[in-house]
Symmetry: C2
Subunit: 254 residues, 2 copies
């Protein structure tokens, strides 16, 4: 497992370098389900680069990835979960605030995860048997304090519509932040900058943070409090275990 983890750390930085050196060129931008659901040629090319490297070293491993319908079942064998560019809208509109994400699972059990914030060159990695670090610095586990001394990351529409009482809960905190990428938002949670993160996301958006977060005192659950299914887009929360019951008293509203 140590070898696979070191391989993944090297690979994710190569993917980041690939994006950085190619983002100076004109992007080909396509709309997927609607005008604000974007994919670029670099999302696809980066995913191909990741898959080609994994398949060369681990030919029998499987892939669950964002683009091109490569969706192996998470519970079946050795599965790499890949998000080549998480926060594509930020990537297109800001040329920053996006991440590459990799997670590695065996028969549904997370072994390690990685979130690489490309433009700030911060690599969050670990989980399973590995300490969670940002670059070479070990991250501290969640430190509790009162709700009104925390900020919360949230999907803007879930906040605005008071989905399951989220707005009411956030009113008890120092406020909401909307960063627009699951990867950088959940990295901010693990770095202690946000108490929690609530959004409507896909398996490749949460797979890495889930395995790292469990090592630091966080859980990744659906808003209803269930394990996410790793098959389709779900409304999920990435929250400190120590705050789960407090948060759930608000979320019980429908």
């Amino acid at each position: 497992m140590e070898n696979k983890f070191q391989f993944a750390k090297k690979l994710i930085r190569e993917a980041g370098d690939f994006i950085k050196s190619n983002m100076v060129n004109e992007l080909e931008i396509e709309e997927k389900t609607r005008f604000d659901d974007l994919v670029t040629n670099l999302d696809k090319e980066t995913q191909e680069l990741l898959i080609a490297n994994i398949k060369q070293v681990y030919p029998d491993d499987h892939i669950l990835a964002e683009e091109n319908g490569v969706h192996h079942n998470i519970t079946d064998g050795n599965v790499w979960v890949l998000d080549p560019i998480d926060g594509t809208v930020n990537f297109v509109a800001q040329a920053t605030h996006f991440a590459v994400m990799i997670a590695y699972y065996e028969n549904g059990i997370g072994q390690f995860g990685l979130i690489y914030d490309v433009m700030t060159d911060l690599l969050y990695s670990g989980g399973g048997q590995f300490d969670v670090c940002v670059n070479d610095k070990k991250l501290s586990p969640f430190k509790d304090r009162p709700l009104n001394r925390f900020l919360v990351g949230c999907n803007a529409n879930m906040f605005a519509s008071n989905y399951h009482g989220l707005h009411d809960m956030i009113e008890q905190t120092l406020g909401v932040r909307v960063y627009g990428g699951a990867g950088i938002s959940m990295a901010a949670v693990m770095a202690g900058q946000l108490m929690a993160y609530f959004s409507y996301i896909q398996p490749w958006d949460y797979a890495a943070a889930k395995v790292m977060g469990e090592k630091l005192g966080y859980v990744l659950l659906t808003i209803e409090g269930k394990e996410p299914d790793f098959t389709h887009r779900q409304k999920v929360m990435f929250v400190p275990k120590a705050k789960l019951s407090t948060i759930q008293t608000y979320l019980s509203k429908t």
Copy 2:
């Protein structure tokens, strides 16, 4: 004016260094108007440092500043507008995403402005007769593109309540971002990462961005389209002149 501008650039970095070297100590946090309106000992001490330095070199100049009620009239003589820590909530909860801001006005006319994003060490400075730069790199003026290729920065509650049709307007864009500090948000506008910024803020929150932004094709106006008054908290927008009429078709709703 060149001397004053160079003095201000040196001073704001000194203030940032002062904050950075003192933020490792326990902060004394006080609530001002409510539990999420915070001030720390470092806000006050940094403001004192700024004022002491200005008064030593320019003893006849005046001060309009956030803390301690130092509120000289912007239209009267040489006025330094100071925000020692903009984004105090981020400062307290995240230890990042805050800024020091300085603006210099003569008889109500902006001469230059500075926003220093302390933790990323990015200094936005210029306006009036000076080019607007981030550190030593000159910023490009606003580049137009369709509304649906931009992100927008907004106060979370103004977004959630669809204040003056803001939510409807943002629905036509790639989405909203909430960063929680006027300084870092308006710096993101000038860096081309956000099309515009909408918030409910004080003179020391907008004075620096206003004078820099005018040089780059932006205007700082109240939501009603009037000049801000520099005397009290107002709902304002920092928007590209080229997009003003488009934006105002949405804001005309009440």
